[in-house]
């Protein structure tokens, strides 16, 4: 069984992001980039399927500018067999990403596509679902457990107040939640081997997709600074302030 995993290059989760001076976007100048944490979980899950003998090949795909090949290499070091880079310019919105992924799905015909439930930059949580619709594939989102069983995949989903398990007919789409697994470290010997693994580059045109844009980013601004707290002398003062200043009681 072929498994396709999508990986996105995003600002490192631990980096404090700053808005550009003109408020047009987040400042990405000299900022550390990394693989989106949910995508990392997706790669780990695919590699585990391969190690368990369920998957025969794991293909890592990333859409973006040239540097996102670094994240493909990371996926290859973690155990993916080969990589596909769809080279785009600037920001691409979820619908376009889903269309490009659909192009790759048509080419590779994987039985399972694993994506992160969202990327931590845009927080859109749309790509997996859109791809499901475009490719007419079953989808199990927010997965905390994935079990392939013959021509089905059982996906346990984290829903409000509990867990829900759905059984999907393959080929299917799974999007990962945080508790699905704990990704491994990329070992140095595997990083070296990854350099020699196949990485094909396509343009959107190669996949027959026209890159369009429907969304305009109007403004990016940091959250309002929180005011420093104050100390009150006694309960009476606290009650007074809550009543007369904060007006909450």
């Amino acid at each position: 069984m072929k498994v396709l995993v999508a990986v996105k290059r995003v600002v490192d989760y631990n980096v404090k992001v700053r808005a550009k001076g003109d408020g047009s976007d987040v400042d990405l100048n000299n900022v550390k980039m990394a693989i989106n944490p949910f995508c990392e979980i997706a790669v780990e899950e695919a590699v585990r399927l391969k190690e368990a003998g369920v998957a025969s090949e794991v293909i890592a795909v990333s859409i973006g500018e040239k540097p996102c090949q670094e994240q493909i290499r990371t996926a290859l070091a973690l155990g993916a067999d080969r990589g596909i880079h769809v080279e785009t310019e600037g920001k691409v919105e979820p619908l376009v990403v889903a269309k490009l992924l659909k192009g790759v799905v048509d080419k590779e015909e994987p039985q399972l596509v694993i994506l992160g439930k969202q990327s931590i930059d845009g927080d859109n949580n749309q790509t997996g679902q859109m791809l499901g619709a475009l490719a007419n594939m079953a989808q199990g989102t927010f997965a905390s457990e994935v079990k392939v069983d013959g021509d089905k995949v059982n996906v346990t989903r984290e829903v409000d107040g509990g867990l829900q398990t759905v059984s999907l007919k393959l080929p299917a789409i799974v999007t990962t939640d945080l508790r699905l697994n704990e990704p491994r470290y990329a070992s140095l010997p595997n990083i070296m081997k990854a350099k020699k693994k196949q990485l094909d580059v396509f343009s959107p045109a190669d996949l027959g997709v026209e890159v369009t844009s429907h969304i305009e980013q109007v403004k990016v601004e940091p959250p309002a600074e929180r005011q420093a707290g104050i100390k009150v002398a006694d309960v009476a003062e606290l009650v007074d302030k809550l009543k007369n200043e904060a007006k909450v009681i």
Binding site: K32, A34, P37, E182, Y185, L188, I191
Partner: protein
Amino acid sequence: MSDFPTAALDDLIACVGAERVLTDPESLQVYGRDWTRFHDPAPAAVVLPGSVEEVQAVVKAALAHQLALVPSGGRTGLSAGAVACAGEVVVALDRLNALSDFNPVDRTVRCGAGVVTASLQQFAEDRGLFYPVDFASSGSSQIGGNISTNAGGIKVIRHGMTRDWVAGLKLVTGTGELLDLNRGLIKNNAGYDLRQLVIGAEGTLGIVVEATMQLSRAPRDLAVMVLGVTDMGAVMSVLQAFQGSLDLEAFEFFSELALQKVVEHQDLQRPFETATPYYALLEFEQHSEAEMEQAMSLFEHCVEQGWVLDGVVSQSVAQAQSLWRLREDISETISRWTPYKNDIATTISRVPEFLAEVEAVVTEAYPDFEIVWFGHIGDGNVHLNVLKPDALPMDEFKARCGEVSRWVFEIVQRHGGSVSAEHGVGLLKKDYLHYSRSPLEIEIMRQIKRVFDPSGIMNPGKIFDA
């Protein structure tokens, strides 16, 4: 304390106020000891001065009543320097915790002695700068304590010890006078640099009340590698290979047993499946792709040489942090076994031979004990931790460790090393000071103490007996 004179207590209260003089049993327990557990805390009182003047007043009151004082910071010390077990008065600097007068041109900031190390680090980070002295206890230790122990930590290989970051300090001496030493100057060869004597004095010369700390540029994009290494000699070969072509920010090591304990108790992931006797953790800046390429080819070289069997490198800040925890969480993890700690060092070139000898003695002497090795090996410094078997009574454990320590310290002495690389001497190591210091050196130290503290009220009995 029944024999503590009421008049003395009244005078202390007059200095800092009744609420800032603690005598309840719980406070005496808490403030009476540091991170070590070999002495029963028994201070007479704890005072919490809120200003330099109050510290001076406390010292003068102590002089009047002949009270011994124990300066106290975050009490994370590992050599029983901040232990009060003989009716002393603990002077806790917690309230002198202001950060002020940040100077972006000099890149300095004024710190009260009670500023927590991590607050200074955060202060620097918020201004795009860096305070590089760092270790696992920096969330609790204080600048005054760091200065008084000349704390080292995990970045010494690149950034040096606390000493290198103290641009100036203020000391209340044993006579209650205030010294303002060096005032932030980079160049100041006008006579003796008394500041340097105070750094590492473990509170025996006076109370550090304030310091002007130097900050540095923030490091860029740090990568962390953990390598599985075949033996101690190989650890040093790896160090040499990497140091030859990369500016390392850190080079730490730990043993397989250390890794096992940390992974088990901190719920962490092993870096890789291969188990090796030792692990090296290194950190370096990536200004460009060149550093990582260099590091990769060094790794290959180390594998070819048979020094290294496996390795990982962080792919994100989160991974870098998790890899660091494998090293940083060791101390805390093993504290449940009340470890007997040796903090020994020699010059880097002598480390392999030195450690082989120490290892031989230790495995011979403690066949039934668990020994955890880790430390700042890039500085020639190892922490040798002997874990107490649960069944063994503390006194017996201490006695056996003390005896073996002598053999270890004889090796230290033969290699011209130090019996305390970065933790200080306190009560714990004072019987062994002579393995690292000549009688003349110790005598001069005593004389210096008398100059700063003629009445001998400042942390008496620590480092050496007056």
